[in-house]
């Protein structure tokens, strides 16, 4: 365990996000923190006050309304859904969604209890730490941006993955029926993605890049194969996989992957990206967005 915790990861990401944006912290109308883990000072889980208050204070977002959203690994995209809604109705101009996931410690606890591949704690072994933040703001008329966001909770499967503080160790434990959750996630994603594409008036071939939640590389490739088979088309590029390098960074996976694709120069202005949330609940969300010049420039190429 290093010096980081959920709050430091979130604050670091928020500061970096602001530095790369064209706005100041005082211009943020809202800060929504979406972490599953809320660890501060080691493995002390924070229940209240809202962690978003601490993030807003740390970055100087003195005018921001603050609250936390908890929606498992769909947290950041849920926050994005909320901000998109608030901006579209004219309630705010811009807001930040932020998350700090200091979650790899669940793997340390799981390692003491996993004895075979049927263990329900196996999924904890692939978790990774990350902080991520994004700013959503009103785009000038006619400019690209968020085309569609939709979420469905398929609650018949709400008990397939449960995480809570450990009784006998510091930190938490997570219990997942991994095979079942992958099976239903793949089956249910196809019709919900099709519905999202229909509403946006596009086909899967019109999507340049798909970023799914990062549970395992094998599950992502198998899932995309089944989804493209069901929808009768494929996006321009293969689905983005980052889990092999960073692990499953929980609510931050989509933002981490999106930034990596931008930095690697694999995404350009005008590219259409589909972010697909698959999270305990079972939460299935689709965000369709078209990248603008600023999103690309702010992350540039690493070379």
């Amino acid at each position: 365990m290093g010096d980081e915790d959920s709050l430091t990861l979130a604050v670091g990401a928020a500061q970096d996000c602001l530095k790369r944006s064209n706005c100041n912290a005082v211009d943020l109308d809202v800060v929504i923190s979406c972490s599953i883990t809320k660890y501060c000072d080691g493995l002390t889980q924070w229940l209240e006050p809202a962690m978003s208050i601490a993030v807003a204070n740390a970055i100087g977002a003195t005018n921001a309304v603050t609250f936390d959203v908890s929606n498992a690994c769909a947290g950041m995209l849920t926050g994005m859904f909320i901000l998109d809604n608030w901006i579209r109705i004219g309630a705010i101009r811009r807001g930040m969604v932020v998350s700090g996931e200091y979650i790899s410690q669940l793997g340390h606890n799981a390692a003491r209890h996993v004895h075979n591949i049927l263990s329900r704690e196996l999924a904890s072994l692939t978790l990774g730490d990350a902080g991520a933040a994004l700013i959503v703001e009103r785009a000038p008329a006619g400019q690209p941006g968020i085309d569609f966001i939709g979420f469905t909770t398929v609650a018949d499967h709400s008990r397939l993955c449960l995480a809570y503080p450990s009784e006998h160790e510091p930190g938490a434990r997570m219990f997942t029926k991994a095979r079942k959750i992958h099976e239903v996630a793949i089956k249910d994603t196809a019709p919900l993605l099709q519905e999202a594409l229909d509403i946006a008036g596009i086909d899967l071939e019109d999507v340049d890049c798909v970023i799914p939640h990062q549970t395992s590389a094998r599950a992502i490739r198998k899932g995309m194969s089944e989804v493209t088979g069901a929808l009768g088309g494929a996006p321009r590029h293969e689905a983005v996989v980052t889990v092999d390098r960073y692990g499953n960074t929980a609510s931050t996976t989509h933002t981490v992957a999106l930034i990596e694709e931008l930095r690697a120069g694999r995404l350009r202005a005008g590219d259409r990206v589909a972010l697909i949330a698959l999270a305990s609940g079972l939460e299935i969300g689709v965000v369709l967005l078209t990248l603008d010049e600023q999103a690309v420039k702010s992350h540039g190429h690493d070379d």
Partner: protein, 292 residues
């Protein structure tokens, strides 16, 4: 046009029962829908604002468990089906007002037609809390969009006053080899929360072009008498117009219970304007105007 509260329900655990927060949220949600004559399948959005649940479950959102238990379109997507969405918000004792604001804006956008807000707190069990300070209770509010002049008026106004002295904190941390829930409230919390609540109340009234005399009732949470005294002494609001749940041991359910009390006692009079005001850890305080 605004978001109106179609039904409110509060459920309290009996003195000898050991109902957990999920059971309380389920019960309040079910009773609320039944009383309103609304089918679970008609609910588009479910938001849970409660904080203290069995085991301090971190994921999934408790709302998804409530959604399954109540039967709010939990099944796999199918032709002709109607999906629903659920998630949790956490904003201390102000969570219910945050949830009301979120529901209001999704309703305004036409994204949804009916939203159910639930909130509950109970001892998390499993030896997490040696003494749990809040009364186990669940609350539910059904919200719809209204095309008349009723409902929430304008924005919800918020303020946050951060100061270590307030020290309302709840954490789960290792203690003697076991995780334990620690809840502490600083000695000046109620006084300072009252000041913060008075500030947002004044902002809400000013934004609505109203004075305290225009209010039929002020629905306040939490119910600590010291908080209410501080709130009224820092505002021009007549203490006689302020109602609370009357139970200072209610936490995230406190505002819902105060609304329930106001509704049940005819204090949300036709065309009367209510001020909803709450304060919690942070210190965060929020206020909104509501026309009955």
């Amino acid at each position: 046009m605004g978001t109106t509260i179609e039904e409110i329900r509060v459920v309290q655990a009996g003195p000898h029962s050991h109902h957990d927060a999920l059971w309380l949220a389920d019960a309040a949600g079910k009773e609320c829908l039944e009383s309103a004559g609304v089918l679970p399948t008609d609910v588009d959005l479910l938001i849970n604002a409660g904080l203290y649940r069995d085991r301090i479950l971190g994921e999934p959102a408790l709302a998804s468990l409530v959604q399954e238990d109540i039967g709010i379109n939990p099944e796999d997507p199918h032709p002709g089906g109607h999906g629903s969405f659920s998630f949790d918000v956490a904003n201390g004792a102000c969570g219910a007002l945050t949830a009301l604001q979120l529901a209001d804006r999704f309703l305004q956008a036409g994204t949804i037609r009916k939203a159910l807000i639930v909130s509950s707190d109970a001892d998390p069990g499993h030896r997490l809390a040696s003494s749990f300070p809040f009364r186990p209770a669940g609350g539910a509010v059904l919200c719809v969009h209204d095309t008349t002049r009723r409902g929430l008026l304008g924005h919800v106004h918020w303020t946050t006053v951060t100061d270590e002295r307030h020290a309302w904190r709840a954490t789960v941390g290792s203690d003697g080899g076991h995780n334990r829930l620690h809840i502490e409230m600083g000695p000046t919390f109620c006084d300072d929360a009252g000041v913060a609540a008075a500030k947002v109340a004044a902002e809400a009234l000013a934004a609505g072009g109203l004075t305290p005399d225009d209010l039929a009732v002020v629905v306040a949470a939490p119910a600590y008498p010291t908080f209410v005294r501080s709130f009224t002494s820092h505002s021009d609001i007549d203490p006689e117009r302020v109602i609370t749940s009357g139970d200072e041991r209610l936490h995230t359910v406190s505002l819902v219970a105060a609304l329930d009390y106001a509704h049940a006692n005819g204090l949300l009079t036709r065309n009367g304007i209510a001020l909803l005001v709450c304060a919690g850890s942070g210190i965060t305080a929020g206020a909104a105007l509501y026309r009955s």
